[in-house]
Assembly symmetry: C2
Homo-oligomer: 454 residues x 2
């Protein structure tokens, strides 16, 4: 097998749109119109959006364009076009949670994240599709922008598809299992799942105890700058200071030592994906980075065993208990409007006790301590973002094995569109220590600089 190529394949420009807006080589209105033209051409096949708010978007982009002309942008992301996952409240568009029970539901307010983005001058283009309640079942018919026969991944399906198709350079998602990292991998996007609590989930219908807002973008720069624009305006979840670090992309810093984790996803990884990860490790070693594997370290081996020991079941039982109350209420209202997967989750929850949940939380706490010990003294973890290219068909949104660890550990993860499998995008994932989001982006920034090919 030929050695896979490592290349940063995300759409250009590599850097923030701010540079082009400042230099006058682009404008918010031009950016929006280019995206709308792509939407017109490809949205009938991709189906990334539940709702579009074009009129307001054009007016907002017009105002932003004027601010750049006047030299008074509200922020570096003033004028960036954004898609919003349909579990996140928006004042002008309904929030349907991917469920027939919530279709057309309006709160007439913006979520914390949307409020912050608008405050920074961002242009909200529309609401993107999600699986039912950001979980497993897909009522929407979104397709992968790189192959209409394949899933875009989930649950942030529309957000990843919209960015991957070039409809918008940025979109908000969320993640509690693999809902940002996996679709970003399948659709060839940068994806960021921050440290637990780092981006305010107010006004988002996802308040699970290890879920977080997710940011999907065409470039690493836009993803970081937008995330900081949110955190500096509305902070993190209540009780959490919020994402810390510079407002601009953290300076690239070469890692000295990273830990390679196979995770439970490895068993499902395709030959192409395995080869791509092997090539990434070799690529890192060629650049002087020490890559520690389970074969070389008892500590890594022990942690891999913990990851392989029912981690997905653990996360699903935590989620089941925490969603028992809304699901029970929904079931009483209209059982037929819930998917089979949701009814099964509800049944699992009903079989749990407060003590079961407490035990699950205790195991999670123990895993977090073990991870903190594992990464201490290294620059982070490297692994795949998904088990391979997006699978054919739409029966499943794909295997989430590689994304589960960072979710349950509450630590930051970033996926970079630098690998491929079956000639389709595959992400390489870096995972950092809790609260070390900025350091993770320094590593990712170095990687992108090294991997860029023109």
């Amino acid at each position: 097998m030929q050695r896979p190529k490592i290349a940063y394949t995300a759409s250009r420009p590599y850097s923030s749109h701010a540079d082009a807006f400042r230099q006058g080589t682009s404008s918010p209105l031009a950016l929006l119109e280019a995206g709308l033209a792509r939407i017109e051409a490809r949205e009938p096949a991709v189906r990334a959006f539940v709702a579009l708010g074009i009129e307001r978007a054009r007016a907002d982009a017009q105002r932003s364009t004027q601010r750049w002309l006047d030299g008074v942008p509200l922020s570096p992301i003033d004028g960036i076009a954004v898609g919003i996952k349909d579990i996140i409240e928006t004042a002008d568009l309904p929030t349907g949670q991917g469920s027939p029970m919530w279709t057309g539901f309006r709160t007439q307010r913006d979520s914390a994240t949307v409020q912050a983005l608008r405050d920074a001058g961002a242009v909200i283009v529309g609401k993107t599709t999600t699986t039912e309640f950001a979980a497993t079942e897909m009522f929407a018919s979104t397709t992968n922008p790189h192959d209409p026969q394949r899933t875009p991944g989930g649950s942030s399906a529309g957000s990843a598809a919209a960015v991957g198709a070039g409809f918008v350079p940025l979109a908000l998602g969320s993640q509690v299992v693999g809902s940002t990292i996996r679709p970003a991998s399948y659709c060839g996007c940068v994806g960021f799942k921050p440290t637990y609590g780092a981006l305010n989930r107010g006004g988002t219908y996802d308040q699970l105890s290890h879920s977080s807002a997710g940011v999907i973008g065409a470039t690493l720069d836009d993803v970081w700058v937008s995330s900081r624009a949110i955190a500096s305006r509305v902070g993190g979840d209540p009780g959490y200071p919020g994402l810390a670090g510079p407002d601009a992309l953290p300076q690239a810093r070469a890692p000295q030592r990273v830990v390679l984790l196979e995770t439970a996803g490895w068993a499902a990884a395709t030959p192409g994906a395995r080869a791509a990860l092997d090539a990434s490790v070799e690529w890192l070693r060629e650049r002087g980075v020490e890559v520690v594997t389970r074969a070389q370290s008892d500590k890594v081996e022990q942690f891999e065993r913990q990851l392989a020991d029912g981690l997905l079941e653990l996360t699903l039982s935590i989620i089941a208990w925490e969603t028992r109350w809304p699901l029970e209420s929904y079931a009483q209202r209209d059982r037929s409007a819930l998917s089979h997967a949701m009814l099964k989750r509800l049944a699992n929850a009903a079989a749990m006790t407060q003590q079961d949940y407490e035990a699950a939380l205790a195991r999670r706490t123990q895993l977090r301590a073990a991870f903190a010990a594992l990464v201490a003294g290294s620059d982070g973890v490297v692994t795949l973002s998904a088990s391979g290219a997006a699978p054919l068909g739409f029966a499943s949104t794909g295997n989430a094995g590689f994304a589960v660890p960072a979710s349950i550990l509450g630590v930051p993860a970033v996926t970079l569109p630098v690998l491929s499998d079956e000639n389709l995008p595959l992400g390489l994932q870096f995972i950092g220590a809790a609260g070390e989001d900025a350091a993770l982006f320094s590593l990712a920034s170095w990687f992108v600089d090294e991997a860029r090919v023109d």
Copy 2:
């Protein structure tokens, strides 16, 4: 001045309604109808409810009555009539948050707490008034059931008034400053603000970082049993196991040593309230309880100074930052629909930075550690629940000085209707260590047993 009397003045029966239902001396339907008769007679003056759901309540009470007759109640609180603060979602009634912007807003689902109560057989009677967004301004015209010229307190105004007037034996509230303990004190109710996270706030429009669900009731027994009925079904906030302890009221246990705290409320306390607290201390000492005061202990003196050092300002700045995003969104929609107090809060929030918030959180963490050290080796803290009887008029919902500490510390507090001021109810407050809610109820249970007068 004559020594104030210490007496448990809450409406009878002292014990759970379950005893009367089991014995057949009462029934859920009889309980509901007695409450509805009082509502018919006094609600025009008290105005505790925003909305009543009488038809469904009667059907639910009828079914519950049958279950007791058949000897198959769903729980000890099967058939208890409950009022729900209007920031908490209910499937059948709108949730207005005390704000003209949200009047009539429907989600068609029950909150976690309401879902659990219904699952336990409770009968939801209606939605009770709240100040705007459970904060300071009162758009509703609820009056104190003991004196129509006085405030019922806030923000859980209607819940406390409804229980105090005998409309319902139980009501849900919430607290982030003094919203459960203060109105319960003014209206002569038992009030419980649990440890942070102990009761699931899912579906409640109050997700601040030290707010919690509150339970207001006519008896200590009902308050505890209902709280446990909620926690055992839907647990605590996501990531928190939820209120722990026996399903029945924890056994009475005489305290050996309690710490007396004056708090910042003392400066505003009326002569009658001061005399009542002094009498309570004497009463405790007569029963062999060691009461440690600031005069006797440097540790207490130091902690009192920390409490007096801008604690309300600290809590208000935390709240301001955390409510910045919805208030900004509301202001953009319709500034005129927000009270002056909310616009001021928004202005305060807009002047804050992420770093200011982080510093406020750090101070809160430090205070919590100091409190844990203070109460270690004691059975808890005793203080007043309010600075006196409910004030005359409706311009303010009263001084919250005595309630602020337990809120910001995230620790459990219970107010007992055992004191009086101006011949009106005044609560005595016990505060426990974080997570020690059951021990706090053992203490309160002992107090109630001692204080009962027939």
